[in-house]
Symmetry: C2
Subunit: 174 residues, 2 copies
């Protein structure tokens, strides 16, 4: 099982990678906390980046949490000036949440960070890495779908497209 051995090696390197990411964050002034990017308030910002002006209910469903939690986080985000809440005119029960300009910038900043360590890779390696990540990510989408089709729909492949496309574009420009 040569392949299994290779996988094990890679797995341990990934663990190491995870550990290092963590340490690097603990340390120093990084505000782009990798850990919180995909949880709570960060998760909501990402969802809004993909699809703005959602009701709290829809948002809650989208990111798989209770409406109460969503209300709490949205309120916190509002306090931070990253989202705004306005009553829907068609249905006075619902509240439409949208990113403020600041929120949009903040989210972009957080997802656009190019980790310093990538600079050690040359073009060929970056290319290889991209292909590998593509394969892995694609497989993870499938695994998630396998485990829970509903979840998969919510976090559909398109979720990050908005943000990610922007990154590519911006990068291309520079």
């Amino acid at each position: 099982m040569t392949n299994l051995m290779g996988q094990g090696k890679t797995a341990s390197k990934l663990v190491e990678f995870g550990m290092l990411q963590n340490i690097a964050e603990d340390d120093s002034q990084h505000k782009n906390d990798y850990k919180t990017l995909f949880q709570g308030q960060g998760k909501i910002l990402l969802a809004l980046s993909d699809n703005d002006n959602m009701s709290q209910k829809a948002l809650a469903e989208r990111v798989n949490m209770t409406p109460q939690s969503m209300a709490e986080f949205v309120r916190k985000l509002e306090k931070r000036g990253l989202v705004s809440r306005k009553k829907s005119s068609t249905d006075k029960r619902v509240i439409i949440v949208s990113l403020t300009e600041e929120g949009r910038l903040e989210t972009e900043k957080r997802t656009q960070v190019i980790p310093k360590y990538l600079r050690v890779l040359n073009d060929e390696e970056l290319n290889q890495f991209n292909k590998i990540l593509d394969k892995i990510n694609q497989q993870m989408y499938l695994d998630i779908k396998d485990a829970d089709p509903t979840l998969h729909n919510k976090y559909h492949k398109l979720m990050l497209n908005h943000v990610l496309t922007k990154i590519h574009t911006d990068e291309t420009k520079s």
Copy 2:
């Protein structure tokens, strides 16, 4: 700046990768919570895997937290049966913390998990991935050292060696 563009692409794929890891965890029965592997109790287990029988004080320094926090976490780990605490015979003030057999197994289990998604990579890709991760990890060690030499010493490259070597060995056997 072709290279910068490549880096941006890779960066976004890494963000996506992180997001997917997170979703996959939320979902389903994974107990090997990637998020907690390097924090709090998990961090301590890792430190002990590398260097067992440390005093609480030494442990606290090693993982960069206050002795009070350490005391709390160690107590929790003891309750879970993963570590044992015994008074040092030479210095009755200090408490020596060590992994129980269960703790050792648990830690190995948590670090040994081979993510399912790796199976989509062929031998060549695994090889490339390994090389890339090696380069990246090495660079991250340097970056951490750069930012804080003390921290670097504590989380020295050797930290995970113990655990990781075991993984390699076990994998080789299978």
